[in-house]
Symmetry: C2
């Protein structure tokens, strides 16, 4: 990451069964909707595979700086995704924000 950039990760577990069509649709729609927001870079859909961590998936993305991160949080497509999909289909989650040391 460049200096001042922020990597935002959301670890989560879905209400849908692993491998279900509903789970696949959530991951696909999340990637399409969130990665299309202009300030979002390096969007990744990841599977969490450690048995020592109680989440199944992660979205990971990078913002050039805090202003870009704020713009993401305020973006109507992000807010609509949170309201219509995240809050209805995600069972539990953990946010992580990382910067270069």
């Amino acid at each position: 990451m460049t200096n001042g950039a922020i990597r935002h990760m959301a670890l989560f577990t879905l209400k849908h069964n692993s491998g279900s069509a509903e789970a696949a649709a959530f991951l696909k729609d999340g990637e399409e909707i969130l990665s299309f927001i202009p300030v979002v870079a390096n969007f990744e859909v990841l599977l969490q595979i450690s048995v020592k961590c109680d989440f199944d998936y992660s979205f990971s993305m990078e913002f050039e700086n805090q202003e870009a991160y704020d713009a993401y949080n305020a973006h109507p497509d992000h807010q609509r995704f949170v309201r219509e999909r995240w809050e209805t289909e995600v069972l539990r989650f953990q946010e992580i924000d990382l910067m270069e040391s």
Copy 2:
């Protein structure tokens, strides 16, 4: 990440105060020792800055496949770092392993 690669992250909080020489030494030594292990790629020392996550730092690294990850876990430099530094200087931690979906 390439297909089959694993991103291993350890989120942690140190016993040392934030900004202390001891904290800086732990992060520097961890990077030098662990990133020098041949199977380790893209090693990063990161600050965790979300108030919604109760860890201060993260090491992040990538392995080409499970065999490389196993080699890292078995490597004497890794095992010595865990025994001599991690187990004595880390207050709490959370491991996360991620793969491309």
